[in-house]
């Protein structure tokens, strides 16, 4: 993981010179008189008055390394077995247990990747296209209920609805082997993930992530992750298995 990230950011820096779509002007972006995107302009809204979340966004990278980086020590309400598991994964021990090390990103870690992602609203479904792993999530907004006893998947099953100006996404059915962050926090098959998307202005959004997983944590806990809009660019391609050299150097089984 760590190696790829460095490599990918080098690539990212090298690309804009030749690939023009990475410098394309995003239509509908408010601009200052000098033509620069005005990222503190008001949140765009649709005909229904709800915030429009469309755009290319980038998560603060610290949450991938440590999803609890804004919490005080002791604030993560581990069940004893989960704390033990987490401790056993310190300093890279157990790196091979992370499905992302085998190029399967999975939720909830996918959300914390520091690469750009794109939100596209369409009737009945919102897509999140991720540059990291060139993968996607579908979040259904057609009013369907979460499935009762679904086959667990790497991304789970997600439905979204508006609560005031917050877009609230509920996800269940995530395979229990995925990690929350590179620090090695896990979860159980009972994980219910609640994401609250709050777009504060044109360029800034918070995602309040609540982890409700009574098997792994004694009570629901919430982290606030900050996301910024990346104007005038496009997603790059990121193929994890291409020339992958990390896995053999990871430890654990």
């Amino acid at each position: 993981m760590f190696g790829r990230m460095i490599l990918a950011s080098t690539l990212f820096a090298a690309v804009p010179a030749s690939a023009q779509w990475f410098k394309i002007a995003t239509p509908g972006t408010p601009r200052t008189p000098d033509g620069r995107p005005n990222l503190t302009a008001p949140t765009p809204r649709g005909p229904d008055g709800k915030p429009i979340l469309n755009g290319i966004w980038q998560m603060n990278g610290k949450y991938l390394q440590n999803i609890a980086s804004d919490l005080k020590p002791g604030e993560v309400p581990y069940q004893p077995w989960e704390e033990q598991l987490f401790n056993s994964r310190q300093n890279g021990a157990g790196g091979r247990q992370d499905p992302a090390a085998k190029c399967i990103p999975g939720m909830p870690k996918l959300d914390a990747l520091p690469y750009p992602f794109k939100i596209i609203e369409s009737p009945g479904m919102v897509m999140m296209l991720f540059e990291g792993f060139t993968t996607f999530r579908q979040i259904f907004t057609d009013g369907r209920e979460l499935p009762k006893d679904p086959n667990p998947t790497w991304f789970g099953y997600s439905v979204g609805k508006w609560e005031g100006d917050d877009w609230v996404v509920n996800t269940t059915g995530i395979k229990e082997s995925t990690w929350l962050d590179n620090a090695g926090r896990g979860h159980s098959d009972a994980l219910h993930l609640i994401e609250r998307f709050q777009r504060h202005d044109f360029g800034h959004m918070d995602i309040l992530l609540t982890l409700d997983d009574p098997k792994a944590y004694t009570k629901p806990w919430t982290v606030k992750e900050d996301v910024r809009l990346i104007p005038d660019t496009e997603l790059l391609e990121y193929i994890c298995v291409e020339n992958e050299k990390d896995y053999e150097h990871l430890i654990g089984k």
Binding site: A19, C103, I120, S122, F136, N151, F155
Partner: protein
């Protein structure tokens, strides 16, 4: 590829419990008995253009072996994208050499290494893909590798000298009721079928997509790649709507055991 069997079993097992795979697709015209009416007219978006949105699968044009169909029932084009052309594809000599070989001497298929399929093979895998048509952008979500492709319909030109990529760069515009997609900027080393028909970095692909009725897409694909082929060639593919279901996540690398047994480099 050989992993297909395992995955197909997974797919079969998943259907029983994951209710969304039997979720009724909104907006499908139905016959009085509730079955999807796939010969109804193609739906249209607000601007009057055909709406290509839906979950799509291959046309099963390859007979099953005597002992029954494979779990992953691939079409003819999976093996030979030019199977419908008289005389086959107009290969350059080096490309003809690759295709002439038989496994295991025909090595180098990116799919065997769980690398991306590229945009042509995306249509010939027996897994599903989902098209979502939005203003300015058509997205194709691919069940295989849980990946996607973007086709910009906002009028932007293709980039002139882009960073080569597996899916290339695609723009689309409507000509009547046909969406015409131009793509270029591919990396070298892509295969268009399991026989090894190559696509090089100099290749350009044109897709002409028409939704002939509710249940069917006709896609005309033209490959213009003078490094691999002596002249441009065109094939027609059919995609059928898979109603009342959705994509699963399929990871080639999950529990992958083939790699060490594959010969060649």
């Amino acid at each position: 590829m050989h992993g297909f069997l395992t995955i197909a079993m997974l797919v079969a097992a998943a259907s029983a419990s994951a209710q969304w795979l039997h979720y009724p697709t909104a907006g499908i015209p139905r016959t009085p008995d509730g079955k999807p009416n796939l010969s109804a007219p193609a739906p249209r978006t607000k601007d009057g253009k055909p709406d290509l949105s839906g979950v799509w699968e291959v046309l099963h044009n390859r007979p099953c072996p005597a002992n029954g169909c494979d779990d992953m029932w691939v079409p003819q084009e999976f093996f030979d994208i030019g199977w419908s052309l008289k005389g086959g594809l107009p290969y350059q000599p080096w490309a003809a050499e690759i295709v002439k070989r038989t496994p295991p001497n025909r090595s180098g298929d990116p799919n065997s290494r769980c690398l991306p399929t590229g945009i042509v093979r995306m249509y010939t895998t027996p897994l599903f893909r989902k098209i979502i048509q939005t203003p300015g952008l058509l997205v194709i979500l691919n069940e295989r590798e849980v990946t996607y492709r973007q086709i910009f319909t906002d009028g932007r030109p293709l980039p002139v000298d882009p960073q080569p990529s597996w899916v290339g760069y695609s723009t689309g515009k409507w000509e009547g009721d046909t969406l015409v997609i131009q793509s270029s900027g591919f990396r070298d080393g892509l295969w268009l079928d399991a026989n090894g028909s190559p696509l090089t970095g100099s290749g350009k692909i044109t897709e002409r997509i028409r939704r002939v009725n509710f249940g069917k897409l006709e896609i005309e694909i033209t490959v213009d790649d003078p490094k691999a082929y002596t002249k441009p060639w065109t094939v027609k593919l059919t995609q059928l709507l898979a109603p009342d279901t959705d994509l699963l996540d399929y990871y080639c690398v999950e529990n992958e055991k083939d790699g060490p047994h594959i010969v060649g480099k």
